[in-house]
Structure formats: C-alpha cells, structure tokens
C-alpha cells in the first residue's frame, strides 16, 4: 500500500477501456455509479434552476417574475425532478452502486446487467420528464393529487406520470440488486455483524424501495388510466374516493423520505468513525435502527392527511405512530454523538459535512415531531413550516451525507485527492447558506405563510428576502464542489490506496480499484470500524487541520 504513485499506473476500472461504447455498455458497477453521478448531477442542476426561479419570484410580495400558472409548474417540476430524479437515486445509485460490492468484498453486484438496465430506465424516464417540461410541463404539485390531476389540470400529467412510473422501476431494480448482493455475495468471513453500517443502511433502503415503489407505480397508472379512459377510481363524481389516492400515494411517499435519508445516515456512520478514529458506539443499535426506520416508516403515512378528512381516531393513531419513528432516528444521532466522545477528531471536509448533517438532520427531525403532533399540524399544514421541515431532512440531511461521502470516497473513485481547503470552504458555505435559506421559512410558516402561492402579503417580505439571499449562498456552496472535483480529476494529487487510513474492505484495494475490485477475494477476520488496531498516522499527510 505504500506504492501510491506506482498504483496510479496499474490497470484499473477507469483506464481499462476507453470510448463511449465502453461506458454505455458497461456492466461494471463502478462505471455505472459514475454514469449515475453524471446524470443525477444534471438533474440536480435542472431542479436547482427551478428552485432559483421560485426564490426569485418570492423576492417581492407581488407576482412580477412569473404568474400563477407558471409558478405552479415551477414548484411542481422542482419537486418532481428533485424527488424522483435526484434525491431518491442519489446516494444508493452513486455511492451505493460504487461501494456495496467493494465493502462486502464482491466482484460486482449480483445482477450487473439489470444494474445497467436500471440506469437506462432512469435515463428514459429522465428524457421523458425533460420532454414533458419543455413542451408545457405539469402543475399538479409533485404529489399528483386527485381529482385535480385526473379531472381538471390541463397540463401534461400523463407524460409526467409515465416518467415517474418508469423511474420507479429503475429504483425497484436497484433495490432488488442490492438485497440479493448483500445476501449472496459477501466475502468469506463477512458476517452480518461485521457489515459496515453503510451496507445495513442500503439494505434497509432497498427493502423500502421494493415494497413501496410498486404501490406508487400502480397508483400513478390508475391516475393516468383515469385521465385517459375515465375509469373513475379516484373521481368523486363517479363514486371514486380522492382520499384513497392520498393513502396509496403516501404509503410510498412517506417511506420514500427514508429511501433518501437512510443511505446518507449510512455514510455518516462511516465518516464519524473514521475521523474520530473510534469504533461505532452501539453497532447493533445503529444497524437495527435502520431496519426499525424501514418498518415503522410504513406505518405513518396518514400524517400527511390530518386535515384531508380522515377520521379523528385514525389521525390519533397515525400521530402516535409518527412519534415512534423518532426513536430509531434518535438512537442513531445519540450513538454518533457518543462515538465522537473522546475520539481523536480530524476536521477534514467529509467530517465537516458529517457535522453539518448532524445539525441539520436534528433540526429537521425534531420539527418533524412538531408536525406529527395533531394539534400543531392542523395549524401549520400546507405552510412554509412544512416546507422548511422537509428541506432540512431531505436536502440538508441527504445532501450533507452525499457530499460528505463523495469527498470521502473521491480518492477511491478517481484515484485523486480533492483540494482540502476548497472542500472545507464549501462545507462551511453550504451549511451557512442552507440555514439562511430555510430557517426563515420555519418562522414564515409559523406566521401563516402558505406554500405553493406566488404572491404573499408584504409583512412576510423581510424573511423571504433572507431566504432568497441564503439560496444564492447555498447555490454557490453546491457549485463549488462541482468545479474543484472536476479540476481534481486531472490536477489533484494522486491518492494512495487508503488516504484516510480508514477501516473497511474498499480501502484494501487500489485507488481506483481494478475492474473486479480485488485481485484476490478478501477473507474477513476483523470487526467493522476496527480503529483501535489501525495506526493513526500514515506516511502521507492526512490533511490535518
């Protein structure tokens, strides 16, 4: 492992073949991860553009940049692109694809061709979505609520629905692939209790993917069929029930939040142990809390419907169950904090992102408890309080984990180091910008500003200006890594096999890894995060602050 410079010359998955064909027809999980990296980044930029337009419009109380119709399309497409084409695939499809086989000591995922199929389905769905956006867009909100979506909206609901449907199968196949891989492809000695917590998180995520996604898929089919052939399953005029749609939709879409956040939680477990040089506190609690979140997450969906006309008893039960999901989430946060305690902490970029995650996710999670409370929820339903809450979890949490992970594994993915100074600066800017954008929205919501309107009363302007200002800072924070990471692929310092001196099988192969990951199938005879037995210092500087 001391031959850092020499390994840069040896054959790896990147320099093995060149040319467009070798990428578009690849079945190597690492290359597919990079295909996803490029495509989810593209959709992130599109979704970000919509966010920018929304924030610009909300700079003033009057509707000056866009009018109501356009604004409705803007927030709809912001939501659809960000939820279905960025947040859901981002960590599993990029980091998960790259790392799951490496971390368990396998040569590839169990079904490499299905993995490639997943990416193509994602791209087909994405192209459809783009076509839909360029030829008029949708205005139903990302939630497709009936009967507006089936009977009234005159926008391209069916096309957007088909895109979401196809994309759903991409995510189902990814989940299926991960579960089979984790069950069947582990290296000798890699028992369940030795799995990295990132793998546990991916496993729990995959379970949600394969159980939840088919339900939303069939629901969207019913919406499309209702629009096209007047089948009337959700149309109250024909005896149908719009609430049934909401039940079926949220049965998936609440757990979908955990599809987004669980993988990031897995990343955080890896980062915190590595940069505090300690074994994780309470391994089995952190591992099983992922499964707990996956299970409980399926039992709380109707907290999105407290004011929709469900019975009070149902609402009470769902309120109580929603509180329960707080338990496994809190277990994770407490255990991470306990892991930090008396660790020798290094403030490298990935760790700064991990700290950012802890802060933002905790705020997001705690405000989630406000919303689980029936009385408070009735007051703040459909206000900016809700918007701020889910952005703290879905954007603050997920992106902090993702960016932390991307920096952490960048040397492994590309064989190059990123510039540490710029990395830390970006982590700081993202954290500040994020809070400046979304904290004012908590206050706005509490004061009663409703979501999804393009105008508002002048009293709300100061906080909205703060939020828009924060969004520009946040935008800079997100663009910076794109620039310096690209730069580092060519000019970055060549990385050694294990620049962080981290535990885990992925660090025991070369950077970047060879096509089949390991020259010889590794045999595992150590526990996860065995940092007591790994010397702290390394011959290469670890960029200590």
């Amino acid at each position: 492992m001391a031959t850092a410079v020499v390994t840069a010359e040896r054959e790896n998955y990147l320099n093995k073949e060149y040319g467009v064909r070798s990428w578009l027809l690849t079945v190597d999980h690492k290359r597919i991860a990079l295909l996803y990296l490029v495509s989810v980044t593209f959709f992130f930029l599109i979704g970000g553009l919509f966010a920018l337009l929304i924030r610009l419009e909300l700079l003033t109380p009057a509707g000056d940049l866009v009018q109501a119709d356009t604004y409705n399309k803007l927030f709809t497409m912001h939501g659809m692109v960000m939820v279905f084409f960025f947040l859901i695939p981002v960590v599993p499809a990029v980091l998960g694809n790259f790392l799951v086989p490496l971390m368990i000591g396998a040569k590839d995922l169990a079904f490499p061709r299905i993995n490639l199929l997943s990416w193509y389905l994602y791209i087909i769905a994405g192209v459809l979505m783009l076509h839909c956006m360029l030829t008029g867009g949708v205005d139903t909100g990302w939630t497709f609520y009936t009967p507006f979506s089936t009977a009234f909206s005159n926008t391209k609901v069916v096309e957007a629905g088909i895109a979401v449907f196809i994309n759903g199968f991409s995510s189902i196949f990814t989940g299926l692939n991960f579960i089979v891989t984790i069950h069947r492809m582990r290296a000798p000695g890699m028992t369940w209790s030795r799995l990295p917590l990132f793998i546990w998180a991916q496993y729990a995520t995959s379970v949600i993917m394969i159980l939840g996604t088919p339900v939303v898929a069939v629901t969207i089919v019913l919406v499309a069929v209702e629009r096209l052939f007047h089948l009337g399953i959700f149309d109250p005029k024909l005896g149908g029930d719009p609430l049934l749609f909401q039940h079926l939709f949220w049965f998936y879409s609440h757990p979908a939040v955990y599809i987004m956040i669980l993988p990031s939680m897995g990343v955080i477990s890896e980062l915190i142990t590595c940069f505090s040089r300690k074994r994780i506190f309470g391994y089995s609690f952190v591992a099983l809390s992922s499964i707990g979140i996956a299970v409980l997450g399926f039992l709380v969906w109707a907290h999105h419907m407290f004011v929709a006309g469900i019975s009070l008893y149902a609402a009470l039960i769902f309120s109580a169950l929603s509180y329960l999901v707080g338990v496994p989430s809190a277990i994770k946060v407490f255990n991470w904090t306990a892991t930090l305690y008396r660790g020798s902490i290094t403030y490298s970029t990935p760790m700064l992102y991990a700290f950012g995650f802890l802060g933002l996710f905790t705020i997001g999670g705690l405000t989630g408890l406000f919303l689980a409370c029936l009385g408070v929820d009735v007051h703040v339903t459909d206000t900016y309080f809700v918007v701020a809450h889910f952005h703290y979890v879905m954007v603050g949490g997920v992106l902090m984990g993702y960016l932390g992970g991307i920096h952490f594994w960048w040397p492994k993915i590309t064989g190059r180091m990123y510039p540490e100074f710029w990395g830390r600066l970006s982590a700081l800017i993202v954290f500040v910008g994020f809070n400046l954008t979304f904290f004012p929205q908590f206050i706005l919501g509490y004061l009663g500003m409703p979501r999804r309107y393009y105008q508002y009363v002048p009293e709300y302007q100061v906080l909205n200006v703060l939020s828009t200002a924060g969004a520009t800072v946040l935008g800079v924070g997100y663009l910076m890594p794109m620039v310096y990471l690209l730069w580092s692929m060519r000019y970055g310092k060549p990385a050694s096999d294990n620049p962080w001196n981290a535990a885990g099988l992925e660090w025991m192969t070369s950077s970047p890894p060879p096509t089949f990951n390991f020259d010889e199938t590794p045999v595992v005879d150590f526990e996860a995060y065995d940092y007591e037995h790994i010397p702290e210092k390394h011959e290469e500087e670890v960029a200590v602050g």
């Binding site: 396998a106 040569k107 079904f111 069947r184 492809m185 088919p214 007047h230």
Partner: protein
C-alpha cells in the same frame, strides 16, 4: 478475472460469481424478491377493490352477476393446467429430457394463449353490452336480495373499472409470460438447458405460478360474489 479458470463449469457461469451454486441462489432470491414487488403492485388495486366492495356492496354483487361464470371457471382450469405443465417442464429439465421439455413449454404457451383468447371474448362481450366504463356505459338492474332497489350505475361502473384494470394488468402479465416462455422454448430447443443448469426455467416457472395465483384471487373476487342469492 481468471481466478476461477481452473474450476470446471459451463459457459453460463458469470464471471462475478464464485460458483454455480452461488449464481443459482442469487437468481432465485432475485426472482422471489421480484414477486414480492409484484404482490405490492397488484396490492394497490386489491386495496381499491376492498374499499369499493365494502362501500358499494350490493351494486358490486349485481355487476358481478353479469360476468359469465362458465368462461371464468374454464379459464381458471386452463391456468391451473398451465401451472401443471410448467411444473412438469422443470422436472423435464432436471432429468435432461430435451424434447419433453420443449413440448411442455409449448403446451404452457398454448394454454396461456387459450386463456387470453377467452379473455378477449369476454372483453368483446362487455363492449356489446355497454359495460365498458366511459361515456357509453349503461347499466340497469336490481341489487341482489333487495327487490325494487335499483343499482347505482356509477357504482356498477366502478366495478367494471376495477374489473378491467385488474384483469387487464393480469393479462399484461400473461403476455409477458408468454414472451418469456417463447424465448425459453427456443433456448431449450438448442439444448441450452441441462440437468446442471436450468435456473431460467425455474425462475420463469415461479413467475408463471405467481400470475396463476393472482387469477386464483381475481376469479372469486370478480365472478363469484353474491352468487348465493
């Protein structure tokens, strides 16, 4: 990549598996998980059926009685028969009887086609009687067991909406299955499957059995409700 070159195995063993056993286990677990997603996929529709059957109890009974129970029963028998031929085809593959295997796979395809043919006749019937949801939908009748209580046409339409959605989705699965079996038949004809390697037949068989089981639920829910009155 050549680490297992010394181990003897057929051409079907993919490079990233350590042995045929692992590959087989992975494929079969994958298929079972796929069937789990299929259960959830159909589950959404069964859930809708449950809600509306509960709400529009009598109207559903009346609408159900217009379905032809003989055609439904015939199709049920056809599908159960096809499950038998599938099960036997796995036996044929295990014991290396190539011609028997091809014959049984063809029989499965044929039974699948018979099912779809009968389904087409039934659909045609619905068009004739204006029982297809939409502008031309028309339904008159009394709620079974309640003489003089007219059926609400919207509620009857809901029954037919679910009928078409559920049987349509099921038929789509049959068509995919027939495509799958056609490919298997061709491969079996070329002698690709041996007693050592027949995982695709097993997995396609699992899929086919699943599609049969869905029908086993659809048949009573759609055809047999309120028949005792």
């Amino acid at each position: 990549m050549d680490s297992h070159a010394a181990v003897e195995h057929g051409p079907e063993l993919l490079h990233h598996f350590s042995d045929a056993e692992q590959q087989r286990n992975a494929a079969s677990l994958g298929m079972w998980l796929f069937l789990v997603t299929e259960i959830m996929f159909f589950g959404g529709m069964f859930c809708a059926y449950l809600v509306y059957r509960y709400w529009y109890f009598g109207d559903f009974g009346a609408a159900s009685q217009t379905l032809d129970i003989r055609l439904g029963a015939f199709n049920t028998a056809v599908l159960i028969g096809s499950s038998l031929t599938v099960a036997m085809s796995i036996w044929a593959a295990q014991t290396g009887r190539r011609k028997v295997l091809v014959g049984l796979l063809l029989a499965t395809i044929l039974l699948g086609l018979v099912f779809l043919g009968v389904k087409a006749v039934e659909y045609h019937d619905k068009f004739e009687h204006h029982h297809v949801p939409g502008a031309s939908f028309h339904f008159e009748g009394e709620v079974p067991g309640h003489p003089g209580l007219p059926v609400n046409p919207y509620h009857a339409q809901m029954f037919f909406s679910l009928y078409f959605a559920m049987t349509g989705l099921h038929a789509l699965h049959m068509i995919i299955g027939i495509g799958l079996f056609s490919y298997l038949t061709y491969k079996a004809w070329t002698g690709y499957y041996t007693p050592k390697y027949y995982t695709p037949i097993e997995n396609a068989g699992l899929y086919w059995h699943f599609v049969d089981i869905v029908w086993i639920y659809l048949f009573p829910l759609l055809y047999l409700i309120d028949r005792h009155r």
